[in-house]
């Protein structure tokens, strides 16, 4: 019961958050001097009539608050509207979300698989040269501008011929067998994953190291040590679980972070993901598309946090009473 009540409360909290986010983003975008019809206007063969028709279709001739309300009304009804190019926003999102989920999942899995052990290792070997070395190595990854790293990777792909240059599937993907398909996608994923992995590794590693240090310093670990348990047992049986718990809260943010952090990487690699879609939409002030994707991003972030909280409640008995 407690549990359900908590979940319901959290879900209700989402509503004002969505309203604020939508208000901020809608007004900021609409106040910008970006003209969604710029490209059309610059085409000598497009007539004034076409432009007027487009203005009407996109509601650009109405005051901004009316634009917002008409957007909000249809959003509540579940209608995400059309892009400036006349495509359905919902289908566009549907095309991209699976690709982004695929990329993000792989990256998150990899960073966790590598970041957590490295974090533990550097916490246990605290302030030794190994700890230093690990921190420096992971910092190096964070220091390269992502787009630049991605470009270098693409050139690497060209020079060696080992990996395809961007995209997600080869042109003859549909004629492949099942296993060939998997191999093809994996081949395309390697480089973007490497870039995003190197960039997000260090944050996770630092966090894990800090948590682990805190836990190792706590009384119950000291107690366990005093009991004469072996160091390995202390670390893996007692400390690890408690150090990983707070990390779960990070998951939600990490997901949202990757959504925006991946934009430039997706752009350079021509990866058909959500990040690149939003980037292009923002640059063109494609309001319905931007708003829908920002809303999606917010919902994903909140859902991520919610799941993380629930996971925490399940794993950490101490929190159960608090809620």
């Amino acid at each position: 019961m407690e549990f359900l009540k908590y979940t319901a409360k959290r879900v209700l909290q989402v509503i004002p958050l969505l309203i604020i986010v939508s208000l901020i983003s809608f007004f900021i975008i609409r106040l910008s001097p970006i003209d969604p019809l710029a490209e059309l206007r610059l085409n000598p063969s497009i007539s004034q009539e076409t432009l007027d028709k487009e203005m009407k279709r996109l509601n650009l001739d109405k005051p901004i608050y009316i634009q917002y309300f008409s957007w909000a009304k249809s959003f509540i009804k579940g209608d995400l509207g059309y892009t400036t190019a006349g495509e359905k926003v919902s289908t566009k999102l549907k095309e991209r979300i699976p690709n982004t989920l695929l990329l993000t999942m792989v990256v998150i899995f990899m960073t966790w698989a590598a970041g957590v052990p490295i974090g533990i290792l550097s916490a246990v070997k605290k302030e030794t040269s190994l700890d230093r070395l690990l921190t420096v190595i992971s910092s190096i990854g964070m220091a390269i501008p992502s787009f630049f790293f991605a470009i270098l990777m693409l050139i690497f792909a060209v020079k060696t011929g080992w990996f395809p240059v961007g995209g997600l599937t080869s042109y003859n993907f549909n004629e492949m067998g099942f296993f060939e398909k998997i191999a093809d996608i994996s081949k395309h994923l390697v480089l973007p994953v490497i870039v995003l992995f190197t960039i997000s590794l260090s944050g996770l590693q630092r966090q894990m190291r800090a948590n682990m240090l805190e836990v190792l310093d706590s009384d119950y670990v000291k107690f366990a040590r005093a009991k004469g348990l072996s160091e390995g047992k202390v670390i893996f049986k007692h400390a690890l679980r408690n150090a990983v718990n707070p990390m779960i809260t990070l998951l939600g943010f990490e997901f949202a972070g990757l959504l925006s952090g991946a934009a430039l990487t997706e752009y350079v690699f021509q990866y058909p993901g959500l990040g690149r879609l939003i980037l292009e939409a923002v640059m063109k002030s494609d309001i319905n598309l931007v708003m829908a994707s920002l809303m999606m991003g917010t919902i994903m972030l909140i859902a991520g946090n919610l799941i993380a909280d629930i996971l925490l409640m399940i794993t950490d008995p101490r929190l159960r009473g608090r809620s």
Partner: protein, 612 residues
């Protein structure tokens, strides 16, 4: 131990430092490259012929007979097609893709620029009457015949109603009136224009669509029709007429076309074209990605730009591609000056009246023209792969005014011209007759390396005259908004794509009421006649030029308009890039032309791996 280690480290680094400092002066030797440049002689095939086989009016290609099979992978820059509906395309990619699917009645001869029949078997022009004979026995991809009904439907219910993209309708209007179309029999239609109208014949290249497939949607009105044939339409559903049919569209990645097995074009052996099994368009985001894909052999054709040309040219002899020089591009780069003297709705002038006085002065504009160093723009920014430009028509236009020769950069002439206009140069600073310092803003779209570099050069060139130039690259959309809506700009570096065959297509730019008349933009439905004398003359030229039918009658008119622009200089042209394209050697029947490009004849191109 540690000390020894540090000592070694210090010694090594000192050594490296010393090595870096000491460099012997050995003369560089440039190996004499033996430049074997066989001029590729291109033997253009004769025009296609009409041949009737078993009651079907085929179009017979006169190009050498090739082998069937294989695929050609090309790239398209941007976000990919937004629609496959040929009547509703508003961007170049969508037009190209829809153009693959639907043929028009006529097309352009890529060598001469003349109009030649395509879906039509033949046509005849007599004053205002255009009689079109259709091919008998040719079919849509679903097996239904293509008849006069489809042509009637396309024009009467789509084009003339302004459905989809109404620009086609707009372009066909002569003094506000539309042509009339009549069906003479099942395979003959007749168009009648209200007045003789030169651009009309070329406009018959508008794609013809199948009535039985389109009508249910066009009947439901605008919004349904606009959503019809969106990129998400299942490819198998699409009924088309082109040489290739849509096979697959993967958003943001590629568009795949497969051979139409029942196309109406045949080769010299009477086998049905096209040769290629597949044509794949890879959707790439920018030119950088395109080059990388070509390097990795993921695409077969690459348009080369400035800095890349040398790399590919040098490696051409040992490579698997050939490079063709297609001559100057239709793209133009120019500096546009804001001559607007109107006020916004709050009564504030768009352009500061002091500045307007300068800009409105022809001598001031001329001084700018003379101060611009086009030679170094071409050399530095396009790395030599461009030509200086002085005319409003692009260099490959058949209407190009060849008498306009242009001029080199000459600061003396520029200063002379400024003096004539009453400007005074005091200690390297330019003042107008009223003592105002000459200072203005120069815009271009940010993120475009080429235009930013051009802007930097123009700034320097004009500062040589003592002007103060604030160079401000702004985001593309905001710039267009400035140019077409808010009008609050002084000068801008922009580019447009010209139309090498039909100068009338530029009427939105040049006529005073045009929606892209940037240098003196009037609001829509502007009633006051405040045209400058030369604007008036250009308006007249464009009206007259469209009504004359023969090229020889039209040419002097359009020559005149280019002379006016060259003399008045509201837009100062800078340069046109030269189009250089690489294609893999294995592709045969490639007949590049300046007007058509490299792969306009996708249905004739075939693959031969052995013969090189």
């Amino acid at each position: 131990m540690n000390k020894v280690f540090s000592l070694i480290l210090i010694l090594v680094s000192l050594g490296i430092l010393l090595k870096a400092c000491i460099r012997q002066d050995i003369p560089q030797s440039f190996p004499e490259r033996i430049i074997t440049r066989e001029l590729r002689e291109i033997n253009y095939p004769d025009n296609e012929k009409n041949i009737n086989l078993n009651g079907v009016d085929y179009l017979q290609s006169q190009a050498p007979v090739g082998k069937f099979g294989g695929e050609l992978i090309i790239s398209t820059i941007g976000e990919g097609p937004k629609t496959f509906n040929p009547c509703n395309t508003k961007d170049a990619t969508s037009s190209a893709m829809a153009g693959m699917l639907y043929d028009g009645l006529v097309t352009t001869n890529p060598v001469t620029g003349d109009v030649k029949p395509l879906l039509a078997k033949e046509f005849s022009v007599n004053g205002c009457d255009y009689v079109i004979n259709l091919r008998k026995g040719i079919k849509w991809t679903d097996g239904k015949p293509i008849t006069a009904e489809d042509v009637m439907y396309t024009y009467n219910e789509i084009v003339f109603k302004g459905l989809g993209n109404p620009s086609a309708m707009d372009a066909m209007k002569v003094e506000g009136k539309l042509p009339v179309i009549q069906k003479l029999d099942d395979y003959t239609v007749k168009f009648t224009t209200p007045k003789p109208f030169a651009p009309f014949l070329r406009q018959l290249s508008y794609p013809i669509v199948p009535k039985h497939y389109f009508k249910p949607y066009s009947d439901k009105g605008e919004s349904v029709f606009n959503a019809f044939l969106s990129p998400n339409t299942p490819p198998a559903e699409i009924i088309s007429s082109g040489a290739f049919m849509l096979k697959e569209y993967v958003p943001a990645q590629r568009v795949v076309f497969v051979r139409n097995p029942d196309y109406y074009k045949i080769n010299l052996n009477d086998n049905k074209l096209p040769y290629l099994n597949k044509v794949v368009y890879m959707i790439v985001g920018d030119t950088n990605n395109e080059i990388l894909k070509f390097e990795a052999k993921e695409i077969d054709v690459l348009a080369l730009r400035g800095s890349n040309v040398a790399r590919y040219k040098i490696r051409e002899p040992e490579s698997d591609y050939v490079i063709y020089n297609l001559g100057p591009d239709t793209g133009t780069l120019f500096l546009v000056i804001n001559l607007n003297n109107r006020k916004d709705k709050d009564g504030k002038p768009y352009v500061n009246p002091i500045k307007h006085k300068w800009f409105a002065n022809r001598d001031f504009r001329a001084s700018i023209d003379w101060a611009l160093d086009r030679k170094n723009m071409v050399q530095n920014i396009a790395l030599g792969i461009a030509e200086p430009l002085f005319t409003a028509e692009s260099l490959n236009s058949i209407f190009l005014n060849k008498y306009i020769k242009g001029h080199p950069c000459d600061l003396n002439v520029a200063e002379e011209s400024l003096k004539k206009a009453g400007f005074i140069n005091r200690e390297g600073k330019l003042y107008d007759a009223d003592g105002n310092r000459v200072e203005f803003d120069l815009y271009t779209n940010a993120g475009n390396l080429e235009r930013e570099a051009v802007g930097v050069m123009i700034k320097q060139d004009l500062e040589n005259l003592g002007m103060k130039v604030n160079f401000k690259p702004v985001e593309f959309n905001s710039l267009v908004n400035k140019l077409t809506n808010t009008h609050d700009w002084d000068m801008a570096v922009m580019g447009l794509t010209g139309s090498p065959l039909e100068p009338h297509d530029g009427k939105n730019v040049w006529t005073s009421s045009g929606s892209l008349h940037m240098f003196n933009q009037r609001p829509a439905n502007y009633k006051i006649d405040d045209r400058l004398d030369w604007e008036k003359e250009i308006d007249e030229i464009f009206t007259k030029g469209a009504l004359k039918l023969s090229f020889d009658e039209r040419k002097p008119l359009y020559d005149r308009y280019q002379t006016i622009i060259y003399n008045q200089k509201p837009i100062i042209y800078l340069y046109s890039p030269i189009r250089i394209t690489a294609i893999r050697k294995k592709f045969k029947n490639v007949f590049p032309t300046s007007l058509g490009g490299l792969i306009y004849n996708l249905d004739e191109i075939y693959i031969d791996e052995d013969k090189n």
